[in-house]
Symmetry: C2
Subunit: 161 residues, 2 copies
DNA sequence: CCATATAGTTTAGTTCACTCAACCATTCAT
DNA sequence: ATGAATGGTTGAGTGAACTAAACTATATGG
């Protein structure tokens, strides 16, 4: 099952993507579990981490949850020490939800280990090759985002059909 | 050490990785949703798809669920047309749970679209470059699997500490 | 055969995250 | 200032998926 020949399938890209997919999902879940978060909560945390401080409403829109559900979500993330909840400076209705500086030790350890493990992987490539990989990762990420949105949209449409 | 700046620690590499990860997870979830499956169910389906026909007990062990929960799980997967439930030939207490040949039309359509989209991505690379990407994907997949297992193990250990 | 173990289902009860709607607090517009 | 809009929280009710335990059916060993 590990033949390195990319051109054997009609769909090399999709094949490559799907091989990674399961592994990524597993790691993602394992990481969430380490900090006592469900996969869904961990995903929400990702939004906060990446896209900086967000308001509750923003988070609700991004996750597709209702305002009420977001309150609970933020409660859990705060409980887990992953997130800080403050009030907006000028508009005091608004929340400022921001990730704490660094994840809890267990997660940091796992991430660090992952980092060195990935270091061993990248060490086997030349800088030029890594450029190629980076390009592929970028394009693939964009494609997956787009396709995820499209699939979600299709589901939306069906619900109203 | 010829790995350029891709593996420096505060790096774009980590960001790329985490964005790819989220994108993958989103696509994974969207795909599951299309066939009316939760992320958890979709993951279980992955086990059945990948590791061939399994018994209910096996599936229970692999997912960490109880026997009763697995009955419901398989019910849902069967309902969604993703899985077939037959009895074992020689031991008729046992179930033989196997993935159906092809996913339902909505999922197939989404996968097909994903396929052509990824085709457009791969079209932007030479065969040699794709070899490089394939190599990276394989190594990365193995690494993620290993790290996921390690993280899960750590969690396990903590529970008994 | 009969006793006991194993595979899976069923059922009753629990948990948990969600929605919806009512509810404060704050801001904005007139 | 006051009424309407906005941001977030709270609480009641719902539904999905879980566990534990009782149950059915099959297998196996003395």
């Amino acid at each position: 099952m590990h033949n390195g020949d990319v051109s054997t399938t009609s769909d090399p890209g999709a094949r490559l993507g799907s091989e990674l997919s399961d592994a990524v999902v597993m790691f993602h879940e394992a990481l969430g579990a380490l900090s006592g978060l469900s996969a869904a909560d961990h995903k929400a945390l990702g939004i906060v981490r990446r896209d900086g401080p967000v308001s509750a409403r923003e988070l609700a829109d991004r996750t597709g949850l209702t305002a009420g559900a977001v309150t609970g979500l933020v409660d859990r993330l705060e409980q887990a020490g992953q997130v800080r909840r403050t009030r907006h400076a000028t508009d005091r209705r608004r929340l400022v939800i921001e990730a704490t500086a660094s994840p809890p030790p267990e997660v940091r350890a796992a991430l660090a280990e992952m980092g060195t493990a990935m270091g061993r992987v990248t060490a086997q490539f030349t800088p030029e090759e890594l450029q190629v990989v980076a390009r592929w990762v970028q394009l693939t990420t964009a494609t997956m985002r787009e396709q995820a949105a499209r699939a979600a949209g299709r589901l939306e449409g069906r619900r109203e059909g």
